[in-house]
Amino acid sequence: MNPNDRPSLDLGGSLDPLGVAPGTNAAGSSGGDIPAAGAGGDTPAAGGENAVEYSTGTTTVGLVAHDGVVLATDRRASLGGRFVSNKNVVKVEQVHPTAAVTIAGSVGAAQAYLKQLRAEADLYENRRGRRMSMEALSTVGSAILRGLPVSPLLGGVDPAHDDGDGVEPHLYQLDGAGGRIEESAFAATGSGMTVATGALEREYDPEGDVESAVPTAVDAVLAASERDTASGNGVVVARVTADGVETELRDATGALMNGAAGGVR
């Protein structure tokens, strides 16, 4: 009968879903269900002052097609862009039945971010019996990114609003300040973004479908790999459609390699 045990009517303490208060964020404020990516309890905050790894050495691209979204990244992990620390990294991961995210930036922060976003999407679906819309996923995805040194692209599809066969593809560029910009055509992030953007500017077909967008995405990543020392070692391509997310590995010439890329889900 301790009066302090009384339940609180407050929604997780305050109306602060955008996480202005330290150690909280949009996910944490509504009941504190999911620990924040940037607040690791006893361990130093990923991407904070104690972050060990920080680099943007990467090229990631996203293209909108009429039947879905194509995401592609290079496969190199580097230390400060000067030493290739891994030649077989998968930097695009599924976070939702019909959405995936590419990551550029600090590896630790990016991994924590992906885990948290996946947990948000799963919890939403389990509680409500329907999938998160891209609007909701990108809103949460930008809110929980605040303060993390990661530059993701989020690509996904919503079912068509008229319940028909079509889909509504969406591509968002997110940033560490919580920004969220929807791209209607294509976007690129990472240290190779300028080279990749040039290639996309020339090759992107606004009328194209997912299959025709794949070679364009591969070309853009390969172009960046030629000139950006922090990008290379092949390409990972993800097709995001109403059927889900399909990932494939390609070598440094852009040729398809055997087997799907691991690391998703």
Partner: protein, 251 residues
Amino acid sequence: MQNSQQQAYDRGITIFSPDGRLYQVEYAREAVKRGTAAVGIRTPEGVVLAADGRLRSELQVAESVEKIHKADDHLGVATAGHAADARRLVDMARRRAQVEKLRYGEAVDTETLTKAITDNIQEFTQTGGARPFGCALLIAGVDDGGEPRLFETDPSGTPYEWKAVAVGGNQREAQDRLEEGYDDLQTVDDGLRLAFEALAATADGDLTPEGMSAATIDAETATFEALERSEIGAHLDEHGLLDEGSESDEE
């Protein structure tokens, strides 16, 4: 009325009686019945809420009897029972609707909001030192895609979905009228008519617009709109439910 053994189980809400009942929760339901009635009706074209309020004196300002509340553009809440308890839950619904918009960039749907409220109500049936909420809410809304929804919360914290429902005083009479008249409802106006008929059944047939309130949420616009008292009077007059002795506030 009870033996001393049973009274012991009354004292704490967190204690089950030997036959598995929570007396305080049941007493809270009695508190709901002591309030005036509130009615909700779902039609294909929208949801209707209507409630009868009680004025203690002709000097009381009728607008101060608040039974129907707007929670968000597309959501309304009608209450029965302890008005002060209900206000806390209504405020929670309003904050929850805003939190959802900030969190997901989307309007909260009626079921999600209802379950957030009932989860909170449930906490007050299992926590020492607290007392249950002595009120029932009718939560009406139009979800994304234009689907009208209507939910009830009760003092145990259980959510129920309804096509048409009455809570509060003389609930049985109102629910009987709803069951008789629910077939063939098409328009929001049909819903309003049946809602007023159900309220009339709780008040021996005739109603006065003073103290009454009503609101609609249209499926197409998904917008909460409260009726003016003069509009309520016009509806009652049209359907022959107006108490002869009363002057409606029409101007």
